[in-house]
């Protein structure tokens, strides 16, 4: 057999699978988004954007991503630095940090609901300690801020580990000599982190941030569990259009919007955190 053809042949099944179960449905959705009753139109996008909920949805989603992702990045960097420096027990620490990864986002939302609920852990704790005499309603429909904070907390708890795992792997790829050289030439721990580790970590940072940002725009189950409809986000609205309002075309448009935002941010981070070829390790 021709050796050159072999790699392509081996990729065939996966490619076919992708075409059938991803590209084709994607094309269908894209088609639905720009048509109504068989005719091309942008009405679906207009309907979506015209809904009174739309601006809130967009701003909630963006704000959530803008707050959650940087906090997660900082925490993941800190945790990865600590884990990387461990001489023994590194994998144990990694496993422990990674536990929330094994829990689905809906389950995570429910866990945090159990904490913040009127009869939840937090209220039990507060009343046991005598700090409050009546349970507080944390997640009531007028408590937008508390809901927001609870969602952010749940998201941080749930998905920081994925970033950390990527960053730990990335830090492992940086030869120890660079940090030692920096240390000899006068850089303290903080300077070494800023001037050596961070720049050399750019490829992993890129992967971690892009992955996390995309996930942040798809936030849904955690919000649904903690806030119901009190904190509308893009994915929730897409769900609404599809199942509550039974409008597949607008739902498709909404899904495309999420995709566009994700692609936009991906390109942005690819560009910003790009490592020039000559400056690679």
């Amino acid at each position: 057999m021709n050796g050159k053809a072999l790699p392509y042949l081996l990729l065939m099944p996966a490619t076919l699978f992708l075409c059938v179960f991803f590209l084709y449905p994607f094309a269908l959705v894209a088609f639905e988004a720009v048509t109504r009753d068989g005719a091309f139109t942008l009405d679906n996008f207009r309907t979506m954007a015209g809904s009174w909920k739309f601006p809130v949805t967009v701003s909630n989603t963006l704000l959530l991503a803008a707050i959650v992702v940087p906090i997660q990045l900082a925490m993941a960097l800190l945790m990865a630095s600590v884990v990387s420096r461990l001489e023994t027990g590194r994998s144990v620490a990694l496993y422990i940090f990674a536990i929330p990864l094994g829990i689905s986002d809906l389950a995570a939302g429910l866990i945090w609901l159990a904490i913040f609920d009127q009869s939840g852990f937090l209220n039990t704790l507060l009343s046991t300690l005598g700090i409050v005499d009546r349970p507080i309603m944390f997640l009531g429909y007028q408590d937008k801020l508390t809901i927001f904070v609870a969602v952010a907390l749940a998201e941080i708890w749930r998905a920081t580990a994925i970033m950390m795992v990527i960053l730990v792997a990335g830090m492992g790829l940086i030869p120890k000599e660079y940090c030692e050289a920096a240390e000899v030439f006068g850089a303290g721990p903080w300077k070494r982190f800023i001037r050596i580790t961070l720049p050399l970590l750019r490829p992993s940072l890129q992967t971690a941030i892009i992955l996390r940002v995309i996930l942040a725009f798809e936030v849904f189950a955690v919000v649904a569990a903690l806030g119901g409809t009190n904190l509308p986000v893009l994915m929730g609205e897409t769900y609404n259009w599809q199942f509550t309002l039974q409008d597949r075309n607008v739902a498709a448009a909404s899904a495309l919007l999420i995709l566009a935002i994700s692609i936009g941010f991906t390109l942005f981070f690819l560009r910003v955190l790009r490592v020039p070829k000559e400056a690679r390790i």
Binding site: A181, V184, P276
Partner: protein, 346 residues
């Protein structure tokens, strides 16, 4: 002034002892070479001086200051790493400037020093490039320039030439010697290459299995090895060793020859002589020629003496053939004796 004193330094990695009780004093501006086979603890000792490794025991003093509890950046040292460790994300200019920026020198001074050291190392034309765009030799120059730019009291080098090809190594060796002599720093230079050690060092510290066996000038290390190991490690080909047994008149009998030697209680000691310190003549050690290697300036002859291997460097004009029986007369003032138990020189 930056004299270095290593006092009773030991290093253990778990159950393995990499360094046993090492003592070494290095004078200000001295070029000290740590020489030894791979795995003998050279790098470990150098890293302890640098502060990248903490000794299990003992003290390190630099310039009259005890430094073993200080981080590397407070020791007044610079280092050239074996794999250069030129930062890949910085230009050559910024690499050389790294130590200066950490000291927060004004931009003007940074530029002056970077340009001066770059010129010294002949890399002025590379300042805008990245490490990935340099050859091994150029990278090594950048690493040296980065170390010189901070004008350190002490420069530590870990096999800096070992990754270069032979010709380049020769060129860099001569250049390093000149540059470092001019910079008036104290240097500790690690290598496993004895020719490099001989050519660069003011003094060589020969290491073996975590110990310094001898620290002396290159000529002394070569001529008067303090221990059998030094004689067998240094010199190419290395020293010849033959068993010697006590003779009646207080001398020692070696391969059919009776020679005056040291006083010793022992009945058997070891006789040693460098291959170039024997003359073929009518009298001497009885040798049977096994292999002849004409090397141009001289001829290397491998013989059989008392059932053991013995190498002699003869004049290239000598007419010998395989199977010849030779008499090899050792030059009396070049004969060395070793105690077979302690392996120390007698």
């Amino acid at each position: 002034m930056a004299e270095i004193a290593i006092k009773g330094v030991a290093k253990r990695f778990g159950g393995f002892t990499a360094l046993h009780q090492v003592d070494l004093a290095i004078a200000d501006q001295e070029f000290m070479v740590l020489l030894g086979a791979s795995g003998c603890g050279k790098t470990t000792l150098l890293r302890i001086v640098a502060g990248l490794e903490t000794p299990s025991q003992g003290e390190v003093w630099i310039g009259g200051r005890r430094v073993d509890h200080l981080p590397p950046r407070e020791r007044g040292i610079a280092m050239v790493f074996q794999n250069y460790a030129v930062f890949p994300h910085l230009t050559v200019f910024e690499n050389i400037a790294f130590g200066l920026r950490m000291k927060k020198l004004p931009q003007q001074e940074v530029e002056r020093r970077v340009n001066r050291t770059a010129e010294l190392m002949h890399i002025e034309q590379l300042l805008k490039r990245y490490s990935g765009q340099l050859s091994g030799g150029q990278r090594q120059r950048v690493a040296v320039a980065r170390a010189l730019a901070v004008e350190p009291d002490v420069i530590l080098m870990d096999e800096p030439l070992s990754n270069l090809d032979a010709l380049l190594r020769l060129e860099m060796r001569a250049e390093l010697k000149g540059v470092l002599a001019a910079s008036k720093t104290t240097t500790i230079y690690v290598t496993h290459d004895q020719v490099e050690a001989m050519s660069l060092a003011d003094r060589i510290a020969v290491m073996h299995q975590g110990r310094i066996v001898q620290a002396a000038s290159p000529v002394e290390v070569y001529r008067d090895p303090a221990a059998r190991f030094v004689g067998s490690f240094i010199g190419n080909p290395p020293m010849n060793f033959l068993p010697a047994s006590k003779a009646a008149n207080g001398g020692w009998s070696v391969a059919g020859l009776t020679l005056p030697g040291p006083r010793s209680e022992r009945q058997n000691i070891e006789f040693a002589i460098r291959p170039e310190d024997v003359d073929a003549g009518d009298d001497g050690l009885q040798a049977t020629v096994r292999v002849i290697e004409p090397l141009g300036p001289h001829t290397l002859v491998t013989c059989d003496v008392e059932g053991g291997l013995f190498r002699a460097v003869l004049d290239s004009g000598a007419t010998v053939a395989v199977g010849d029986r030779l008499r090899l007369a050792p030059k009396p003032d070049r004969i060395r004796w070793f105690d077979p138990e302690t392996t120390n020189a007698l």
